[in-house]
């Protein structure tokens, strides 16, 4: 079994319709330290458990949204558009 993702626009669709966009991180501002940018680019939490992440509905509405997913079981707990 693969898993289903509930796109906020299109409803539940196969995960293979989407593009995975990685864990949600806050982007440093221009002028922030090199360390902040290093952390943003390279350090990954790679959570074995519930993780907030980006998804893009490539074969659907073509919108980016966020999801809370358990990476151990691929259970999707919630999906939403970020503020």
């Amino acid at each position: 079994m693969s898993f289903l993702l509930a796109c906020p626009e299109c409803g539940e669709r196969s995960a293979y319709e989407f593009r995975f966009g990685g864990e949600v991180k806050s982007r440093p501002q221009q002028g922030d330290s090199e360390e902040a940018w290093f952390q943003y680019i390279y350090t990954k939490t790679n959570e074995a458990g519930e993780q907030e992440e980006w998804w893009f509905h490539r074969n659907g509405c073509r919108k980016w949204f966020q999801a809370l997913r358990d990476t151990r079981t691929n259970t999707v707990i919630a999906t939403w558009y970020p503020e």
Binding site: Y16, R19, Y42, K44, E53, T71, R72
Partner: protein
Amino acid sequence: MTERMWRPRSLQSSYDVVIIGAGIHGLATAYYLGKRHGVKKIALLDKGYLGSGNSGRNTAILRSNYRTPEGIPFYDASVKLYEQMSQELGWNVLFSQCGHLTLAHTDSSLIGLRVRAENNQVLGVDSKLIFPDEIKRMVPAIDISSRARFPIMAALYHPPGGVIRHDAVVWGYARACDRMDIEIHPYTEVTGIRVEKGRALCVATTRGNVAAGAVLNVTAGWASTISKMAGVPLPIVSHQLQACVTEPLKPFLDKVIVSATLHVYVNQTDKGELVLGAEIDPYQSYSMRSTLPTLEQIAGHTLDLFPQLHGLRVLRQWAGVCDMTPDYAPIIGRAEEVENFYMDVGWGTYGFKAGPIAGQCTAELIATGKTPALIQAFSPGRFRAGRLVGEKAAAAVSS
């Protein structure tokens, strides 16, 4: 009485080196620590049975026709250790150097293969470009016609590449380690690492706590979870990689066939089964459940190469969890944050073929404190320094 490959032992309270993960990398490191450096008190801890992780889930393909000047000598040294392994361990690992073909279906992948062939030859690795007529002579079953969706343009032929019995490698190392009184503890899951003043003092497990002189993280897909216990961040994301095996056929294929464009690799085992591998799944996950879309992808792309295999049934499908780094190269070295915490991680989709040499280098690093030349490019500090390796000839990732 049958001889035991390795003996169950009781967990002691203290070891010189605690190795977390008893797959091929952990076992090889323990073996060389004992054999070459005389380290006595070593414990290998694993949360499952021996070979339950990626050491028993890979498609057992070995090769050294990589692309970068860092990767090629490293994997070449590994293939040479595999060639010696049956002698070294006194245990047949069934290494068959049947030859390995990487197919090009596009101009850009042909250019990539040309670069690899040139780099390989300069560094002494047997590897050359061959074209459809010669491919067809070597592999009569393959479809080289222009009818295919992605017609085959050329292949990188790597004669020393081949397949090995991966379980035998694990068992052989485990047996050799046990003979040196290196302790192997399966079903011993690490639950925490106590770090004080920049030193890892103690490893907590489901069977009790052990004090450690040095700790090595060799947990592949779970590398981030162990590293987090020691407070060492990693640039790794875990993705699953799937493979399957079909019912047996008469022998018709005696080469390993890989296609980066079609994201598939194919070889026929001695039993006649076809082992088919995919590329990593497109989303991060620790799940080890196989999926139907990936099976469809493997099947479709295998049929692009071998249309006559339609109707062939799949016996088993499985997944392993791969620790992917940003530059498709491993991370081997000592953590900057914790002085006695070592890692041999980030092995992504290419860890099995590197096991022996990674173990040998990691053992040297732990025992002597000096980083061997072969692994200097793979240091944990390379990301901060902006010196990425960029090994685009890695397995099972799109080029």
